[in-house]
Structure formats: C-alpha cells, structure tokens
Amino acid sequence: MAEMMQIHHHFHIRWGMAIDIDKCTGCGACMVACQAENNIPPSPESFHRLESVHWLLVYKLSNGLEFPNHDVAYLPRPCMQCGNPSCVSVCPVIATTKDEEGAIVSQVYPRCIGCRYCMAACPYHSRVFNWYDPVWPEGMEKILTPYASVRPRGVVEKCTFCHHRYMDAQQMARAKGRDPKNSDVVNYVPACAEVCPTNAIVFGDLNNPRHEVTRLAKSRNAFRLLDRLGTEPQVYYLSSRSWVRRQGDNSLQQEKQRST
C-alpha cells in the first residue's frame, strides 16, 4: 500500500470527491448538470448501457433483502480519476494521461483513435464510446457551452472533473497574481458538486488538509469502489450503512467478504 501511495507524490494538488451516500436522494440533478456543462448530446432513445453517452451515472443500490427489511441507496459514479489508472497504460496513442498538476486523468479527444482499450481496462465503466455522431434538434445546439468541444463518432470520452473549471480558476489566479498551484486559491468545484441540492458531493484537494474532502476521505465510513484492485480512486464514498460499504467492493458471492 505504501508503494501505491507514492504515485501521488509528484502531484502537489490531487483533486478528489467524497460522496455521502446517506445524503444522496438520487434526484439526478448532478447527471443533468454534467450533461449540460459538457455538451453531452441528447438522444431520443431510452437508456442503453452500451450506447448511451453519459459521464456520470446514479446507480440505485439495494441491500437485497425482501420487504419489509429492504433498504435502498443511490450511488453517483463519475470517473474515479484513479491514482493508478488502468486506462492510461493501455492507451496506444497517449490520448489519456495522468501527468498534469491536479491529478485528473485527461482525455484528449482529437488524439483518440477509438480502439476502446481504455474502456475494457476501466473497472468502473466510467468511459463511453460515441457510436454515433452527436445530433441536437434544430436550434438546441445554441445551448452548447464553450467548456467542452463536441466529440464526434469514434471517440471515447469520460468525466474530467470539469477540468475546464480548473483551468479557469488557474487563469483567474494568475490574473490576480496569486499562486495557481495553491488549491486554496484555485478552489473550484465541478458542475455536479455545485448543483447537488443535498451537498452530498464534496469536492476538493485530497492533499490539502484544510479541504473538507480530505477529512471526509479519512472517515471511518469512507470507502472506495473496488479498492482492492489497487487503482487508488480519488473518489471516496461515505455511508454509515455497512451493506452499502460492502457493495463498494463488489465481492463475488463465493469469495469471503472482508469486514468493512
């Protein structure tokens, strides 16, 4: 584990999230804000696990018990921005990297050749492939934002923790003569965290002890998805419910479940 933690050392800022599942009502405001901010195209077809383009999904979790002992929870899943990302090492054209201050896994659309190795490698299904060209109904393209270029057919895309907001914050810091490498100065939030009406999504620098996310990540109720794979996700989840924490590791039924 100590070796794994060393991979963060070269990042002064390590943006991360702490999502409190006990506060998430599953309303979906984060999903809509993400679509609007990042120019994710509409589709008249209903959800299709393999073909729908989405950067953030809210999963409904169940404790699996029958009524009346049933319990339910909602789990928003952005890109985990892994500290040890399995997608980066398999990209043949260096379209996805983790080498920039902030520790966000990048995705360079014009460089992507659509081989989808990264999708196969990602254990979180965070990446999506554009099977079709994006189409907006007539006039609706006017709501495109200047924040993310429109991706054509044949390109893989994913959540970027609203990297453009980070760049804007850095630019603002430079303009004001302040240190753009100080996360207290460039303290931005992604669109999903900004709109969350129950403040379930807390965003900040995991290397900055003054940021709430750092405190939350160390909570005894904190866990990460598929932690044992060693991908070192920068998205933490919190729940006081043990069954929710257990599902975070998604153990196979025949495996011995570790206590959480």
Binding site: T25, G28, M31, A33, A36, S43, F67, P134, K142
Partner: protein, 691 residues
C-alpha cells in the same frame, strides 16, 4: 565521394536519427486524427463573453430562484441561486434542464386554430379577433367563461381571474394537488386562517405522512437544503421507498389509502397520554370520542396496517421531540382525499405546533392588487376534479369558453374526465409554450413565452415556511412568436370593453412590488426574494368535523382483494406541465424505461401472487382504463401495492417523451368526497395480467 560501406551505414544511422527526431510523422498523425474528427456537421462550440442573470423557475414543480449563464446572449446552463431563500444554491434536475426546453421541438411557433380537425397557423390579430367574437357573444353570462391555471403562485392569476369575473363568471381553478387538498382542509374543515406553511428549518423531528419532501412535495430544493444541514430526524410513512425514504432515518410502510388512518391512530395515542394541546381548539371532545371508538390500538393498527408497537413508537417520538412537525401529503403530490391532510393537520394542532418554531406556520393571505381578481388562497380551496365531474355528468353548466393557462388537464386528470367534460364545452383555448396534450385537444392554441423569456413572479410556493415573493426579468427575448397570457388577456378585455384595473402586466407587478414594500431592482437584479415571517393569528381551530365519518366510510377498502395503486412522482421525468426533457431522458435507467416500455414496481411477494417475474410485460386494468408496463421487482414497495411513476405516456410533445411508457392517471377514477368538497382518486378493481 565513393558510396562505400561506411557511407551507407552513415546514411542509415542518419536517417534513423532524423526520423526519430523530426516532428513530421507525429505532426502528420496528429493532423490526421484531428481532421478525421473535424466534420462540418459536428457543431462548433460558442466563444464569447459569458453573463449570468437571475431567473425564477416555473416548470410545474416548485418555484425558486435560479441563475442562467449565457454566452453572447444565448442561455447555456442553469444553476441554483445561492441568494434565493428557496434555492440556496441548489437546483432540481428538471429546472437544470430548463435552458434545453427553450429549444424543445414541441415549442409552438405561432397561434393555431383548429380547422376541420387540424391546426392552422394564424396571426395574433386573427386569434384575438376570433376569441373576442366568441366572448362578446357570452359576456355577462354566469357560464360565459372558465379558467384552469397551472400556475398557482403568479400574478397572471390576478389578470385571468379578474377577466373571468368581469365576464360575469366565477369559474377559476387550479389542477388537483397536495396544495389544493391541504388548503381545502385547513380552511373548510379546520377553520384555519391564512395558508399552511412548514417551518422545516427549525423542526427537530419531521414525520412525512406520505409527503415525498425530498422529491416531489412543496419547496423541494429548500427541503433538500434543510435535510443537508442535518440535525433532525426524518421518518417517512408511505407505500414505497421514495427518494425521501431512501435517506430518512426510518421508513414505515403504509398503504396509499391508509395514511389518514395512521395519522388518526397516532392522534389516539396523543389522546391516551393526555398530553395533547387543546387550548383554543374546538371539537376536541368529539374527536376524543371518535378516536376512542374507532382508533383504539387494535383498531388503529388494523386500519392503518401498521403494527401497534410501531404506532406507539412513532407517537412517542412525536411527543418527546422538542419541535416535531407532521407533513401530510400524497406520494405523487397529486392531492385527492382530505383524510390524510385532516389527520396530519390535526396532529400538528394536538401537538401544539401551530405558529410555533419548527411547526406549521400560517402564512397571511397573498396580496391582491386587482379588485375583481380572485385571491390565490381562495382559488386553492376549489376542487377542479369535482367541478369537471359535474360538467361531464351534466350536473353543472359548462362554460362557453374555457381558458387553460399552462395547465395540462388532458394529461393529468383521472381517466377520461377531461375529455368527457371537454365534449360539453364549446370552445377551449390553451395558453402554453409547448404542444402538450391539452393544447393538442384545444380549439385555439396561443403560444406564451417560456418562463425564461418573460417577466414572471411567484408568491409563496406551497410548503414555504414564510411568505416570500420572487420576480424575474426575461433572460432572453422570445424565440417564438409568443405573447404572455396576461398581456394578451388585457388586450382582449380592452377589445371587449372590460376594465380589469391595470393597463399592463408590468404595471400590475410594479404595484405589487410597491404594496409589499419590496425593491424591484433587488428582486430582478440579484434574484433575492422578498420574505416576511409574519404569521396569521389563529383562533377557534377545529379538530373535528362530522364529515370525517363520511370520509372514512368512503375510504374503507373494498372487500375484494386487489392490489392497490400508488402513483409516485420523480421530477427528472417531468411534471404534468413539462414532459420528460432530453436531459431527463438520459437519467432514466434500464429498469425504468426500456425502448418505449416503462416499468412498474412491485415486490416479489406481490409478483408471486400474480405469477410474475422481473421484466414480464403486464397489462393493468381498472374501471377507468388500461396500460402496459414491464415488471421491476423492487422490495422497496410494500406488499399488494403496485407503484407507477407519473410523467410517462405522453401523446403530444416531442420525440424525447411521446409514446414512452403509459399514463398512470388513466388508471384512476374520481369520486366526489362527501363532506370535504374534494375528490377521492381511486384505482378500484385494479387487475394485473401477463401479456
């Protein structure tokens, strides 16, 4: 120079180094990658200065301040307004889609008149002339004109209701909702003054008696912000694990028709402890006798379906909490029977929570500027279902012209009630930005600007803990040939020689702002709502009405054993007024909508009883109608309950919503409720069969 071996090796080595160092191959690869993605049909993103303006969301759910970001004048995104008391920076998924709805394919381009069964586009002048001629012939008759308004907080109601009054009629209604049922019970059965609000901020124990406060009830985003701050215990009682139940401290399963019984069973326990507050309240002895006879522990438990120890635990919670409050409602926020609202409000009275910190706050009547207008509070006391039932059955004289302002009764009223009533109404006019189901069935369709394109206001949305007034200027000029309903009706009234008491909608709003002693610039410039924490003094509240017995008898379940229907609302799939937005469609998962088939929810026990499994296609049949759905096994639904989401089954609108799923309202029928002045919604005779 001889071409010797050394020269060849030098050439090869030089070529290898050159190839490795030159940027040309990399550049060419990069260019190929870029230019094979740079097609003319891929839209370019805008570049230009950004601006942020406040607005006021009005999409049929709750209303609050938002901020709209624009690039070169074009709105691109919406977010919550941290300065607005009912947003506090939060936004719901429907409001977050509002900018996209500006460009919905279902927007109406110009006035449409029905001609030989099909719509024909006409000018505004022609539309005004046509409607003016219709109205001039019936002016002064009590049945001349009626109005249904889907906006229950705006000053547009002053103009429309003043117009209806000036025409000689008093037919003015809001669609059924929890707000209407609560208002009718408070004023009609309990002699309350002002309007009921909930000081949830300061409560320490919240019992949601059916009300899905974190998804579909009242001031949704404010409620979510209050929940986020923590420090209070929330218990949800209802037939399914709603979004509120998912994060509440406890879910108590109660049948959709038993919420009132649970409330009265709890009232019995308060009575039994002798700790209820009765000062200044009438009907206490009658209620005590009634509870003793009908809701003693065994009977109360049987009626509500909740175990005695759970009822007792909940009653103790209410008694031990310092600032408890009970929030009555229906799972889908669709209103209906007075019983749960009566029981919930009676509990608040008996707990001494009226006009107390963290309890029910009685908000003074909304201000009224136009003399002939109907007060919003009075309109909320009227039951549209009952009225249209009378029209459909021939018991009530139908209006000659029915104006429908941004309401969608053709979609959201039970069964075929609206279409039956519609057959007796000679001419219907729909004011709407979108081609919804009601517009599609109207004789004249008048496009109004979407709320982002017009001057808009709102006075105290249902559920607010204090009076508040919000006002917003347009963030963009109308994208269609649309006119605000208020301005059009003011023009029409001039044409008919009627004086409504104002020249324009703007001047009406200016007067209202002055009346409230508010600041126009603060309201519109910063999007900060005017607020007032004054409460309406209460005396002579009643906790008993002889009509309770009548309501209870009508509410008793039929002897036949059939599953009960619970309609629930999830705001990402729209409201009665707004169909599923394109953004919203992408938030629905594979066990909510698959192709054009949507899913109902039932637990395994219920499924086994009907021989059903996950994904089975079933037909639901009631006395009112039928629909098809797939089964999603969900243990978060109590046994013998079938849960169906609202918002699906659109027959108008656009390709993002039309034909997707079924309309749950079509399974309901409406029965006037004796004693309350409201209507019961019933899914009597519900049958499930595998297709």
């Amino acid at each position: 120079m001889a071409l010797d071996r050394r020269a060849i090796l030098k050439f090869i080595a030089g070529g290898a180094v050159g190839t490795a160092l030159t940027p040309i191959p990399l550049k060419l690869t990069d260019d190929i990658s870029i230019w094979t993605q740079n097609w003319p049909w891929i839209p370019n993103i805008p570049k230009g200065p950004e601006s942020i303006r406040p607005s006021l969301v009005k999409m049929g759910a709750t209303e609050y301040g938002i901020r709209v970001t624009s690039v070169e004048g074009n709105p691109i995104t919406a977010s919550g307004n941290p300065d607005h008391a009912l947003s506090q920076g939060g936004i719901d998924p429907l409001a977050a889609s509002c900018v996209q709805m500006l460009y919905s394919p279902s927007r109406i381009d110009s006035p449409l008149v029905r001609d030989n069964g099909a719509f024909r586009s006409v000018s505004w002048a022609r539309a005004g002339e046509l409607l003016g001629n219709k109205l001039s012939g019936v002016k002064g008759r009590a049945d001349s004109v009626g109005c249904i308004s889907g906006d229950s907080t705006g000053s547009v109601n002053e103009v429309l209701s003043a117009f209806v009054s000036a025409m000689g009629s008093d037919t003015y209604y809001f669609p059924p909702s929890d707000a209407v049922s609560q208002s009718r019970v408070w004023h009609g059965l309990m002699s309350g003054r002002g309007d009921v609000g909930y000081d949830l901020e300061n409560a320490d124990f919240i019992l949601c008696l059916g009300a899905d406060i974190l998804e579909s009830w009242g001031t949704l985003v404010r409620n979510q912000k209050i929940f986020a701050r923590g420090g209070k215990e929330v218990v949800y009682a209802g037939p399914l694990q709603t979004h509120t139940a998912a994060v509440a401290d406890r879910w108590i399963p109660v049948g959709p028709d038993a919420l009132g019984h649970l409330g009265l069973a709890l009232a019995y326990h308060l009575r039994a402890t002798g700790r209820e507050h009765t000062a200044g309240t009438s009907g206490v002895q009658e209620l005590r006798r009634f509870l003793e006879a009908e809701y003693a522990p065994n009977a109360g438990s049987k009626a509500s379906g909740v175990a005695q120890n759970v009822v007792r635990w909940l009653a103790e919670k209410l008694l031990l909490a310092e600032r408890p409050v009970v929030v009555p409602g229906t799972v889908g926020g669709i209103g209906g029977s007075a019983l749960p609202f009566f029981a919930g409000t009676a509990l608040n009275i008996l707990l001494g929570r009226i006009n107390r910190k963290g309890g029910v706050r009685c908000i003074p009547r909304p201000p009224q500027i136009l003399d002939r207008a109907h007060n919003l509070s009075d309109i909320r006391d009227r039951d549209l279902g009952r009225y249209l039932h009378g029209v459909a059955e021939g018991e009530t004289e139908p209006p000659q012209v029915l104006l429908i302002n941004e309401a969608n009764p053709a979609y959201s009223l039970p069964g075929d009630l609206f279409s039956r009533a519609r057959k007796r109404i000679p001419f219907t006019v729909s004011f709407t930005p979108f081609m919804d189901e009601t517009a599609a069935a109207s004789d004249l369709v008048l496009p109004v600007p979407f709320f982002l394109e017009r001057l808009e206001d709102s006075f105290t949305p249902f559920g607010s803990g204090s009076a508040n007034y919000s006002l917003a200027s347009p963030v963009i000029s109308p994208l269609r040939n649309a006119r605000p309903a208020a301005d059009f009706v003011l023009g029409l009234s001039r044409q008919l020689g009627l004086d409504l008491g104002t020249d324009s909608f703007r001047s009406l709003l200016k007067t209202k702002v002055r009346y409230l002693d508010a600041d126009w610039d603060v309201l519109t410039g910063r999007g900060i709502a005017w607020t007032d924490r004054t409460t309406a003094y209460q005396s002579g509240l009643r906790v008993w009405s002889s009509s309770i017995r009548q309501m209870l008898n009508a509410a008793r379940p039929a002897a036949e054993r059939s599953p009960r229907l619970a309609l629930y609302t999830e705001i990402n799939s729209g409201t009665d007024r707004i169909a599923i937005p394109p953004f919203g469609l992408k938030t629905l998962l594979e066990n909510e909508l698959q192709g054009d088939t949507f899913f109902l929810r039932m637990n395994r026990h219920t499924a086994r009883q009907h021989g059903l499994g996950q994904g089975d296609l079933v037909k639901l049949t009631t006395e009112a109608g039928t629909l098809q759905a797939k089964v999603n096994l969900d243990e978060g639904v109590m046994s013998d309950v079938v849960a169906i989401p609202t918002g699906f089954g659109r027959t108008a609108w656009d390709k993002f919503s039309r034909g997707k799923g079924g309309n749950g309202y079509e399974l309901l029928s409406l029965e006037p409720e004796e004693g309350s002045g409201l209507s019961r919604l019933s899914a009597a005779g519900l049958r499930i069969s595998k297709v």
